[in-house]
Subunit: 234 residues, 4 copies
């Protein structure tokens, strides 16, 4: 009923509907939701996601450097700390369940898609300002929340349709639950709010197109990341 201004995130998504749909509705995601994703694809994805997290932590460290606002610095550092000391440990535990131990993870060569996405994000932040950096990060942070919530909702709406092919519970159910769960949903909402905080400070109409392009490319690079998982690409 209230006539709220759309968030910057919503405006960016609306300007990149095709790329956003291609990312969040990628075959990897569809198969993950149905439980039909080949385990090798998921395992390849998991390993690269571990390497991805390292650079993701670096991106938030860069964001912490780029501000002198204490509250913003603390939020960025909490993200780095969360990634390095909580998310990574969870990831390692989770990977162990899929037969990948920490030494195996650390020894993995970085896939092309991992490199392409992470260096793009970092360089956006170095050439530009915090707004450029957080826009480049947002398809990942917010998108995973959206994907998790959508898959969980589908599963709730029609549990019978899912995993019949595998004849048991969806092996990726815990992954879906994690991103659909309240903790991660809050992380995603905080990222949307952080973008609006920065937009209030630094967004001009003249910047919108360039930010859209950054957003669109980041969404494409996320889709490439799923593709890398699905095709086991090095």
């Amino acid at each position: 009923m209230t006539n709220t201004t759309p968030s910057l995130f919503d405006r960016l998504k609306a300007a990149a509907t095709d790329d956003w749909a291609a990312y969040t509705g990628h075959a990897f995601v569809r198969q993950l939701g149905l439980g039909t994703l080949p385990e090798a694809a998921f395992r390849h994805y998991l390993g690269q996601d571990y390497l991805f997290l390292i650079h993701f932590a670096r991106a938030y460290a860069l964001a912490a450097y780029k501000t002198t606002d204490l509250a913003e610095m603390r939020r960025a550092v909490a993200s780095v700390d969360g990634i390095l000391n909580t998310e990574m440990a969870l990831h390692i535990d989770y990977c162990r369940g899929w037969g990948l131990d920490e030494a195996a993870l650390a020894a993995l060569p970085e896939a092309k898609a991992t490199m392409a996405y992470t260096r793009f994000v970092l360089e956006c932040g170095l050439a530009g300002d915090s707004l450029d950096l957080y826009v480049a990060l947002s398809p990942c942070v917010v998108g995973y929340g959206e994907i998790g919530a959508a898959l969980a909702a589908e599963q709730a709406a029609d549990p019978a349709a899912i995993s019949v092919t595998v004849g048991k519970g969806n092996p990726y159910a815990s992954w879906i639950e994690m991103y659909a769960g309240p903790d991660y949903q809050q992380v995603a909402q905080a990222a949307v709010a952080q973008l609006d905080h920065l937009a209030a400070l630094r967004l001009t109409p003249a910047r919108f197109d360039a930010l859209c392009q950054t957003f669109r490319r980041a969404a494409q690079l996320e889709a490439d990341f799923w593709h890398m998982g699905l095709t086991l690409a090095p």
Copy 2:
């Protein structure tokens, strides 16, 4: 008669009138205009200005890195090239006339005031965006044009008042002429235009205060640079 919007530079200057006056009307500048500045002070300033130019060139190189706009990149690189391959040679020639040869210049230890100003500018550009960087650069580029023009105008208005203490022409006349001359005045005007170009893209009302603070500090650090010259501070 035309109702023009003031330039960003004029708005920044208007918001920092005291610091701007303290910089452009510093005792070093007054004495330079009257020809009464001790030669040792001028020589100390000249040497440090040479070291300053090196970091100034680095700041424009950073600006060139920070954009993908070809015209902006070319302007920034023309500045680096101009500093390294023209201005520096002129500076070396000029210094030679004051008893400082290139080897002496290269061996000079960097004064505190030189370090303080240059690192402030560079770090502004790395933590922020191109607008932050060019605002930090502007008191130097545009200020020298204003100082040169003002001193030349005073000299033209009342030549008798000048240099009577030294009983000959103002020994700093060629310095004043250089910055008052059409070539440098064009450089200063181009810097004002470049700021407006970036402001059209990236200036928000919410950023104005922070940019003022950057401008004000840069003007203060310029005043400290004059002070360093006057006091022969290391």
Copy 3:
């Protein structure tokens, strides 16, 4: 008789022979040498190479920022200037001959392979030091010289074998001549010397593996760039 130390470039190449061979002997290169490369592939490559040059210029601008050594700064700025004001103009002329005018070039979307390579190089330079940056740049600068020289030598050794499929002179002859020519060969040699200059200052045995990995990845990303041309990949 002389007992010369191999250059850092030669050591890196020797540690990455497979990746180097895959890059310099890529099907794109082979077909270019034989004159059998589809024109659409060459045109796609040319357009992306134009976009690549913009980021390449940014990388040298970053190198200029990262030093306070005047000679090194001048070399880096000469590279930026050469790219922006000479190489790019030649490129635009050359592209015009292939039906791509400047407006068409500027409107091209950046291909994935272009983004991946360029952001990798830039981020290496920001996270690391000048040595990391120049190592990441070297497969391009020196590799093109090697490719040009090798193709020219093959053509000289057996002109009859070349271009018979197209029944006329190799349409890519001028591209080969440019990179085989003395001007570009000197650029490539200067890049080898610049690496050795930096190695003398900053290379430790402990860094060699990481630099190899940077070199290897850059060579792989160059091979991906050829692949992008050959497959017309977006």
Copy 4:
């Protein structure tokens, strides 16, 4: 008995004995040890030290960005987190005891000496590599440990000589105890170890002089920071 190699920190200190002595034996430090330091000087120092901590946290965030080594990243982030979420809170508590509440701290203008030192450190880290950055940080981190330990030892050796002028306990005793205490001493030792870790990877004989100059300047800028406190300089 063991013939250990001196740490890089010890080598740097040995190469800058005069600057190190001027910093660690500054009148501010002497008076602080004797309890004769004017309270206004200490209060001015405390406020600026709060602002200093913000940029110090940014420097460690930058260090976290600049590595992909997880252990090193975690150490750097622990430093940022420690500064922002522990040290700053202690600082605020401590300042409250001296009549400076958090709002007063946040409203303080940054003194010249604070700006000069912090931007120098940050820019070292951006232009150079992690070794350059940590060398620039070391006079602060390790020096405070040395100063704290020395003042505590003097106090223990001759308690009667201290604070007689003020006729009561040294008002700065808790400051001394904090830096002399085991927690901070461990922080200082970890910083020495971190420098040696980086030196093993990246130190060449050719870099030593430049690192000495960085160290020497950072020590001088620390001495200027004391001077700022003592003279209440803005």
